[in-house]
């Protein structure tokens, strides 16, 4: 039998506001437990929420970027359920009137492009965190995250493989970081998703029974969790059994999904309009302002890199694909004229280093200024490209500036013809046999002479000058 997979994703994007959705407590990551908590976040008796303007603006920016309908009147609802890290016993969310309705996102998976439709995106508050393993017999509650603004983006069930789901999340990551809607840091939970997975016979119209895999927070785990779930469901269906609709968790240590115990009771969330918040209206003026301040998106950047900076389509696409890389490039470009050398370095040496270290460029010791200086020193022939690579290694380790390294290690290129000529004269004098052989027609020996010069100068001689003068002398 031939099976078909249907996947829909609910993505939770933590909006990068300074303060929470309904309070003015900080949202900074990594604060000591329960210190980014005020009266409202603690859900104390008598407190009331008020809404954060910036969270709306970011949500609207996202909606505009996916060509969605923006609802300028926002109504919040309460979703009622009990959980230890949900302080009020309800989550404030948007049920009937999401701020963003419709729209679509383009993805690229396995060389083919596809458009995934978005059902809706709504604002809601995040819950706190429960720590289950650190204290004997207890779960510990940290409310720092409680109230952090989330944009929950619901896709249509239009993906048909784990790879497409990953491509969707990558496109989402690129978009939210580009829009400065979120820092997109998946390890810190700023971008995470729930995957709804179901299987049906190829050609069937009806969807199969789905399971929901909760809270997956890396591209790798999305692929693994969905692939596990697909296999599991197909196995069930092939043995003639039925898939049970349930919530599951992905356990990365065992590479499997398992039913989530704490969700075993069917819930009835009893949604109703939040009576503590009146409708929130976004004015036409505010919409216009968001439009006016709209950031440059990847496609626009690609086009600009090609037309204004003369980059190849390939280079432009690679640099524009990551917001952090493009930001770095945009800053560096202001400090150097050799754009193509800069882009070669970014795509070559720098990307290789970042890949090896598994970090983003803004997490490295490299700054756009220093990299531009390095490019300039190669460009103005202060150093050779080869020396440039060793300087780069040093920059990555110490964060020192190229000029400091050149100075302290005496790496400045020797381009003075007189100095190079003196060294070449010495080499010719010291190697009469090789000179004779070369003149006798053994042209391969040319490399030997260059090597000798480089050896004496520790690689600092300007290779072009060496070639030119050597050829002249060995005539």
């Amino acid at each position: 039998m031939s099976w078909e997979t249907v996947i829909g994703l609910e993505t939770h994007v933590q909006l990068s506001t300074k303060t929470k959705l309904f309070s003015r407590a900080s949202t900074s990551f990594g604060a000591s437990p329960n210190t980014n908590v005020n009266l409202i976040d603690c859900g104390l008796p008598g407190v009331l929420p008020s809404v954060n303007k910036e969270a709306f603006y970011k949500a609207i920016r996202f909606g505009m970027a996916i060509n969605a309908q923006i609802n300028q009147t926002s109504i919040f609802d309460r979703k009622n359920y009990f959980y230890a890290d949900l302080p009020k016993g309800y989550q404030i969310t948007q049920m009937d009137l999401p701020i963003v309705l419709g729209g679509s996102i383009d993805i690229h998976a396995e060389e083919s492009a596809k458009t995934i439709n978005i059902t809706r995106a709504h604002l809601e508050e995040d819950a706190g965190k429960s720590i289950h393993d650190e204290f004997d017999g207890f779960s510990a509650i940290d409310l720092n995250r409680a109230g952090t603004p989330l944009l929950e983006i619901v896709s249509e069930p239009e993906m048909s493989s784990a790879k497409e789901a990953v491509a969707y999340m990558k496109a989402m990551h690129q978009l939210v970081t580009y829009l400065d809607v979120s820092d997109g840091n998946m390890a810190q939970g700023s971008l995470r998703c729930d995957a709804n997975v179901s299987i049906r016979k190829r050609g069937d119209k009806e969807l199969g029974t789905r399971t929901e895999i909760k809270n997956i927070n890396s591209f790798k785990f999305i692929e693994k969790a969905i692939n596990f779930e697909i296999k599991r469901q197909i196995k069930i269906l092939e043995s003639g059994e039925k898939v049970i609709q349930e919530t599951r968790l992905y356990d990365s240590s065992k590479d499997e999904t398992r039913p989530m115990r704490s969700k075993e009771f069917a819930n009835d969330y009893r949604y109703f309009p939040e009576p503590d918040l009146l409708p929130v209206i976004i004015s036409d003026e505010e919409i216009q302002k968001i439009k006016d301040e709209f950031p440059e998106l990847p496609r626009e950047k690609e086009a600009r890199y090609q037309s204004d900076l003369g980059l190849s389509a390939y280079d432009a696409q690679i640099i524009a694909s990551s917001k952090t890389m493009a930001d770095f490039f945009d800053t560096a470009v202001k400090k150097t004229k050799n754009y193509s050398l800069l882009s070669n370095w970014l795509i070559g040496e720098i990307s290789a280093y970042l890949n090896k270290e598994q970090i983003e460029i803004n997490e490295s010791k490299l700054s756009a200024d220093k990299v531009a200086t390095l490019i300039n020193r190669i460009d103005d022939q202060t150093i050779s490209g080869k020396i440039g690579k060793s300087i780069f290694e040093e920059m990555c380790l110490s964060g020192a500036s190229p000029d400091e390294i050149i100075e302290s290690k005496g790496l400045k290129q020797i381009s003075d013809d007189g100095a190079i000529e003196d060294i070449i004269n010495d080499v010719i004098k010291d190697n009469p046999t090789q000179v004779e052989a070369y003149i006798g027609g053994k042209e391969k020996l040319f490399g030997f002479f260059v090597g000798q010069v480089m050896k004496i100068t520790q690689g600092k001689a300007n290779p072009k000058a060496v070639n030119r003068i050597l050829k002249d002398k060995l005539k």
């Binding site: 437990p33 954060n52 779960s139 940290d142 989530m260 115990r261 929130v280």
Partner: protein, 93 residues
């Protein structure tokens, strides 16, 4: 409203009712539901709900931090806490 419904409602509200009171509660709920049910006689087909007596809109606050860390005060009010956290019986996810 049957016993089963009462049990479900109690579970959703995380309340339990003493055995000897359960019949009384069930009767009370039925009486109140009957009272509320009388609204069905009113024609509201063209009427929007009025969720708040104020027909105005909320103001929005600026994204400027104004937090005072009162962790100790908050944890003090909890029945079980350690120096950093609120504590509850261990949850298995």
């Amino acid at each position: 409203m049957d016993q089963e419904t009462v049990r479900t409602i109690c579970y959703l509200a995380r309340l339990e009712i003493d055995e000897e009171k359960s019949e009384k509660i069930q009767n009370d709920l039925e009486t109140i539901i009957e009272l509320i049910g009388s609204l069905q006689n009113i024609d509201t087909s063209d009427t929007e709900p009025l969720f708040s007596p104020l027909e105005m809109t909320a103001f929005k606050h600026e994204d400027i931090e104004n937090s005072d860390n009162r962790k100790d005060k908050f944890l003090e009010n909890a029945a079980a806490s350690n120096e950093d956290y609120f504590l509850v019986p261990r949850v298995v996810e």
